[in-house]
């Protein structure tokens, strides 16, 4: 059975082994996500198990089209809720992670680009701040990895990463605005 069939089978029967089969492939990724937000191996393990517990009911009552993104959003929300519960030990700045949540379910459709689009892209690139523009160019055009970009520019690795993420987001917004303003 593929994932979709397993999902609908679980929805019908509530068979826990099936749910385990669905869950196991994502467990290591989920654990990584929990580690990112909770920053504690023990807590993260408990969180992964707790999410599984919640799925037992949730996956029977919800229609889930894309299990992977759904799981990601669910796990993320779970962790953020946990952090909200104990504000004291809030490690993660939510603003800083806004980028991921905004685009989480969007699938990039491959539109055909014509000459004008490249022109627009170049305009938008000029609109980015220097840091973002440099990092985006190095990453997408020179195809350098984060580490090399950090070495080349002298920025910290984290800065490189967020510059690329934010630059990509800003470009996208800019392109969409130009598209609509046609």
């Amino acid at each position: 059975m593929n994932e979709k069939e397993l999902l609908s089978y679980y929805k019908r029967t509530g068979d826990l082994e099936t749910l385990g089969e669905l869950y196991a492939p994502y467990m290591s990724l989920l654990y990584g996500v929990c580690l990112k937000y909770l920053r504690d191996p023990e807590r993260s393990q408990d969180a992964v198990m707790q999410i599984f517990e919640e799925l037992i009911a949730k996956l029977r009552s919800h229609e889930v089209a894309n299990l992977k993104s759904w799981l990601y959003v669910y796990a993320r929300n779970y962790c953020l809720m946990q952090l909200r519960k104990d504000k004291r030990s809030s490690f993660v700045d939510i603003e800083e992670n806004l980028y991921e949540s905004e685009q989480q379910l969007r699938q990039d459709e491959d539109d055909k680009w014509d000459e004008r689009d490249f022109k627009k892209l170049e305009d938008c690139m000029q609109g980015l701040n220097a840091e973002q523009e440099r990092c985006v160019r190095l990453f997408y055009l020179e195809q350098l990895c984060y580490k090399d970009i950090a070495d080349t520019t002298g920025y910290a690795l984290n800065k490189v990463k967020s510059a690329i993420q934010n630059g990509k987001r800003n470009l996208k917004i800019c392109m969409e605005n130009k598209q609509n303003g046609k």
Binding site: E17, G20, Y31, G32, V33, C34, K36
Partner: protein, 215 residues
């Protein structure tokens, strides 16, 4: 499995064991897949993938799934037990009810007769005719006691011979009363029909019932 492949990539990436091209590819992927990006960030914070913890997690998941399965079995068996228990209880109640139905009327009959006995106390003398093979179960004396206890007729009764025909189950099937002195014998017939069971095929006895006067 795709999962393990991805995990080892994350591990290599976090620990700097990847070529620059592979790092770039993974970074590109992660930009379009926030799930992957978050997982990488998480493992990076822990300085790599801890295989021990992950396998522990897998064991916990397996244990969780199995516990549900065995709990289901437990519940199943206890339902079965409950059903058996219920059936037994129903049968017990049925048997008790049947027993009550069987014995209760006789008890009440005995009780009313005891009340009547307060007025009349009878002496019963019973002389068996040994030429017949029949005998009451429990002996002649018991039959005598039964009659004197239960006889509630209005008059004395003197009978030359009571002849009983007995069937295979020990039940009285026919009663002939010879040389009765014109007294009412319905009460006696009723008592013998409902009385003790008999051994043998026929029996006969001489009977003398007379009232004792109470001063």
């Amino acid at each position: 499995m795709e999962n393990n492949y991805q995990l080892s990539r994350i591990h290599n990436y976090v620990n700097g064991l990847m070529s620059k091209e592979d790092m770039y590819t993974l970074e590109r992927e992660a930009l379009d897949d926030p799930f992957l990006q978050d997982a990488i960030d998480g493992y990076a914070l822990q300085q790599g993938v801890d295989a021990g913890r992950l396998s522990l997690l897998q064991k916990r998941l397996a244990a969780r799934i199995n516990s549900q399965a065995s709990a289901k079995n437990k519940r199943f068996y206890s339902w079965q037990r409950l059903a058996i228990g219920m059936a037994a209880a129903v049968m017990f109640v049925t048997v008790c009810t049947l027993l009550l139905i069987r014995y209760l009327p006789q008890q009440t009959a005995g009780l009313t007769e005891v009340e009547i006995m307060q007025d009349h106390v009878y002496a019963v003398t019973l002389t068996p005719d040994e030429s017949y093979n029949g005998k009451p179960v429990g002996g002649w004396q018991q039959l005598e006691a039964y009659l004197s206890e239960n006889y509630a007729g209005e008059q004395d009764l003197r009978v030359a011979a009571v002849v009983l025909a007995i069937d295979k189950t020990g039940k009285v099937v026919d009663i002939v009363i010879k040389d009765k002195d014109l007294a009412d014998t319905d009460e006696l017939l009723k008592l013998l029909e409902n009385g003790p069971k008999w051994n043998g095929s026929a029996a006969s006895f001489h009977l003398d019932i007379h009232r004792l006067s109470i001063q």
